[in-house]
């Protein structure tokens, strides 16, 4: 009898032990996350001010602010989205609505996008440099940086939009067809509005990726930190600014901290908004079923 109870106790102790280990490791991960945020906040908050956000950098970034850098970042982002969104959303609509999942065409497009999603950003940088900057003659410019980013964003925009369209219940398509609506009208008036929250969430994730990107912009949009005059000017992105300040500018750590803080806060906000949209969609789906 005694023996039986001791055997039964063993899984219990093992359970306890595993639980302890898991809680410890989770605590470790959370602590490191908090440590990073705390470090950035401590290093950057004192330097952060309204002037820092709107002034152009002076003395290689040691003084002044990040105004022109923010403008360049925004312009690069706009170029990237203008180029990538129409392509991505048409591709997603085609993959989700018009071609069967198993068709050769669909499989090929999907495979190519999947490979694209895995390509390291430095390779995008090489390609952007060779194709946009040199071959098309755009030089080191916001335009070539933005177009390089557009290639990078394609996979994530397509996959989120396709998932969003596929999540629209099939019954809507059948009902719309039974009412004699054409597929185009169904797509524009019904499916896209219903999938809008996911499309928006994907868009925000794409924006997050774009403003976090450094390596792909190193040799495409360049380092110049003055206010860009046109899309053909070189412009320094925020992430690149942080890299340059910390690696190439002695004494640039404090503005680097402040810039990193700005970037991280911006990204946290964008990503939280994206999650909220995606989460809201899930909740609504539960309510209607």
């Amino acid at each position: 009898m005694l023996e039986v109870t001791t055997i039964n106790k063993w899984p219990h102790y093992r359970d306890r032990f595993v639980q302890l280990v898991i809680y410890l490791l989770v605590f470790l991960v959370s602590a490191v996350f908090a440590w990073i945020l705390f470090d950035l906040a401590r290093g950057g908050l004192t330097h952060l001010s309204w002037e820092f956000l709107i002034e152009s950098p002076r003395d290689a970034g040691r003084a002044g602010g990040i105004g022109s850098v923010l403008v360049s970042t925004l312009l690069i982002l706009l170029v990237a989205l203008t180029a990538a969104l129409p392509l991505a959303w048409t591709t997603a609509a085609l993959l989700a609505e018009y071609v069967p999942t198993t068709s050769q065409f669909g499989v090929t497009v999907r495979f190519s996008l999947q490979v694209l999603a895995g390509v390291p950003s430095i390779v995008f940088g090489l390609f952007g440099n060779a194709f946009f900057s040199v071959y098309l003659g755009l030089g080191f410019s916001i335009l070539s940086g933005g177009l390089t980013l557009a290639c990078m964003l394609l996979p994530i925009l397509v996959s989120t939009a396709e998932a969003g369209l596929r999540a629209v219940p099939q019954s809507y398509r059948l009902s719309a067809a039974a009412l004699g609506m054409s597929r185009t009208a169904t797509l524009f008036h019904l499916l896209l509005p219903v999938a809008a929250p996911t499309l928006a969430a994907g868009l925000l994730l794409g924006i997050g990726r774009a403003i976090a990107e450094t390596a792909a912009l190193l040799f495409t949009s360049g380092y110049v930190d003055r206010m860009p005059g046109s899309l053909l000017d070189s412009g320094r992105a925020l992430a690149l600014h942080i890299f340059d300040l910390s690696m190439n500018v002695p004494g640039g750590d404090t503005p680097a901290y402040a810039s990193a803080l700005v970037l991280v806060v911006l990204l946290l906000c964008i990503n939280m908004l994206a999650m909220k949209l995606a989460y809201g969609l899930q909740r609504r789906k539960i309510m209607t079923t």
């Binding site: 899984p11 018009y98 090489l126 060779a130 976090a212």
Partner: protein, 284 residues
Amino acid sequence: MFQSVQNDALTCWVLRAGAVISALVMLLILAFLLIESWPVLDQITPARFFTDTSWHPIEGTYNLTPMLSGTLLASMGALLLAIPLGITSALFIVFYAPTHLALPYKRMIELLAGIPSVVFGFWGLTTLVPLINQLHPPGASLLAAILVLTLMILPTITLTTYSALKAVPSEFLHNAAALGLSRWGMIHGIAFPAARSGIVAGVILAAGRAIGETMAVLMVAGNVVQHPEGLFDPIRTLAANIALEMAYAMGDHRAVLFVSGLLLMLLVMVLSAMASKIGKNQYA
């Protein structure tokens, strides 16, 4: 009536054109990497990338092995740390966390995934490197690269493991619980085997990310071209090498950098093809 039918055909063609262009981006990238690396691939036998005496591209010696070993060591080290951490994180979210902690912790991991590599690099440079320097100079080292990479691929492993565990049919777990299995017995005996292929696919994806990561490693690894002899030796990875030398590379040197880019891309392509193949076998 007929107009709307024509509209449908028109829409279909517009969408098709978009999709074709999207698919062509991939080919365009491959083509340009090949064109740019052709001058070197044409003249030099690939074996020279492994047998040359050293990496002195200006003098025409192109030994890539120190960079390759640096890349592989850093990635393997990071995987070694990130796999247990990531899997326990996913277990915590799915099985162990009280409800009010599971979602916040998952959100935190998702936010961690959104932190840019340059910020990880910057944090590593200003916080980790001085710490390691106190332990064993110079600080910028293989160890620093491993630690920063671990943080960067942890979310990938956690989130893929999470979805693989979530996809395990709950009847399995209910039945296991009804048979009186302990929690760990249930996870170890039922959940892991059922989710295995999904977890493996996630780990392979994470490996791809680690190999291709540039900025964070560039900032903390020291960037000395050498075969490291210990954790505290500085290293240079393939990706960091491209970022460092591209700015001034000319002629054959530039072409060699494109060759290493091509190499990186092929590595990642093989890994992602493996991941998708394994992921497809996943229990549905």
